[in-house]
């Protein structure tokens, strides 16, 4: 549900304009925090950004529906909060230029995807203390996807309320959240389940083939540094 990108002209400017400003501020903050990183990391980030877009483009058949993955959680765990937010911003910008998701709402789309991916690494660190890397990776992906979906539905709810309050000619009848929830909630549950299972597959393969690509737990990193 999180990467059903919000198009232009649906949400009021009072919502997307602060979203755009916040996203740009976060981009500046993340760029500042990553200025010591090597260009190789930028190249890796770019490759994973392309993977996000490729995963969004490919349809995974799940019974009667075709599901498009977003990989918010796995990218967040692999890259960390600052880099993954940049990746989600770039992915939203590229998609907006291709007519998928709006130009004015690049900020909101990036915030929805970026919030989930930014939470994934801290979540992974937390779960890693109790579970195996594979289980921690999947659990972090579940949290990331759940947060994205909740944010998406929260934004839609605020958007519906804003339409009701705006008093504009297209103000609508006040907004019926039930209609949105009827479509959104099942898709959200399906999204969390699908992304978690895919993340499990990714982590299982990486743990077998290139475990060094999976981040070490925070306490392990601290011990290594010491």
């Amino acid at each position: 549900m999180s990467h059903l990108h919000i198009p232009d002209g649906v949400l009021p400017a009072a919502l997307w304009l602060p979203g755009l400003v916040t996203a740009v501020l976060l981009i500046l903050v993340s760029a500042r925090s990553l200025r010591q990183e090597s260009p190789q990391q930028v190249a890796y980030q770019g490759a994973l950004g392309a993977l996000v877009l490729a995963a969004m483009a490919v349809q995974v058949p799940l019974g009667p529906i075709e599901y498009h993955l977003s990989l918010v959680g796995p990218i967040g765990v692999l890259l960390g909060p600052a880099s993954s937010f940049q990746v989600m911003f770039v992915a939203s910008a590229v998609l907006a230029f291709l007519g998928h998701g709006g130009l004015t709402v690049i900020g909101l789309n990036a915030l929805v995807l970026g919030a989930g991916s930014a939470l994934a690494r801290p979540g992974y660190d937390m779960f890693r203390r109790r579970f195996s890397p594979v289980a921690a990776f999947a659990a972090a992906a579940a949290v990331a996807q759940a947060v994205c979906g909740l944010l998406w539905m929260g934004l839609m709810t605020v958007g519906l309320r804003a339409h009701a309050w705006s008093g504009r000619p297209d103000g609508g009848g006040g907004g019926r959240f039930g209609v949105l929830a009827l479509v959104g909630v099942p898709l959200w549950i399906l999204g969390v389940a699908a992304e978690t299972t895919v993340a499990f597959g990714i982590a299982r393969f990486l743990a077998r083939v290139r475990p060094d690509l999976l981040p070490a737990a925070k306490d392990t990193r601290a011990a290594e540094a010491a």
């Binding site: 770039v90 709006g102 103000g171 299982r204 083939v209």
Partner: protein, 239 residues
């Protein structure tokens, strides 16, 4: 979606409409104006006019109609959902909620199908932080390579019966397939970094400077812009 992306990218460089000869900066300005007008106008007549202009632009860019409909129709599902949730019994509100995103996505498809990506991203890279701007170029360059690989991977999974197993197993297999793409992405980034170093990477990927080179075709872009501006002045408050 994969086909649409690849075709749009191909048309941006290979097609030869009048819009292809116009500068990226002019087209970005016109598209930005169209989107903002569509989003902010309280006038339905002006919204219709802007929508018509978007169709005119897209229709004259030599993009096949099927591709245009596939690419521009993406926001329809979302808009219809939102329109259903806010429906007040009139036809005006849903019409606006459908026309606005459709106009914006038509404008976006017109822009990307007539502008090669280095020209399109170059002005943006001037205003974005270095890392993000570089990420924009690298992501787009890697996209078609990875999409091709993802497509081949999915095809081979289907041929080997991965789609006939239960959904949970299907998704785990899909995840393992995607992990091979993560590995490929990592190795690709190492090769790319080595290539950048060999070619004397200065710490920033600079887009080409053609994006601001004006040609005669820019007069046409300016003409359309003036027409839209005149319509906006005349009809801003007309219902």
């Amino acid at each position: 979606m994969i086909d649409a992306l690849s075709q749009i990218d191909f048309l941006a460089s290979a097609n030869g409409s009048v819009w292809h000869r116009a500068s990226a900066l002019g087209k970005l300005g016109l598209m930005g104006g169209l989107v903002l007008l569509a989003v902010f106008t309280p006038s339905l007549r002006l919204l219709f006019a802007v929508h018509l202009v978007a169709w005119l632009l897209a229709g004259t860019s030599r993009v096949p109609l099927r591709l245009l409909a596939a690419a521009a129709g993406y926001p329809l599902f979302f808009s219809v959902l939102f329109a259903a949730a806010t429906w007040d019994g009139t036809w005006e509100a849903p019409l606006r909620l459908v026309l606005r995103p459709l106009t914006a996505s038509l404008g976006a498809v017109w822009l990307v199908s007539t502008t090669p990506y280095p020209d399109l991203f170059a002005p943006l890279s001037r205003i974005l932080p270095r890392r993000v701007a570089d990420g924009l170029f690298i992501t787009y360059r890697a996209l078609f390579d990875l999409i091709g690989r993802a497509e081949r991977l999915w095809r081979s999974l289907r041929i080997r019966g991965a789609t006939s197993v239960p959904p949970r197993q299907r998704l785990t297999v899909a995840g393992e397939g995607l992990a091979t793409l993560v590995l490929y992405g990592f190795e690709r980034s190492q090769r790319l970094y080595a290539t950048m170093m060999l070619r004397g990477h200065s710490g920033r990927i600079c887009g080409c400077r053609h994006y601001a080179e004006m040609s005669r075709a820019d007069w046409l872009v300016a003409g359309v812009g003036a027409l839209v501006a005149a319509a906006a002045l005349a009809w801003w408050r007309v219902r």
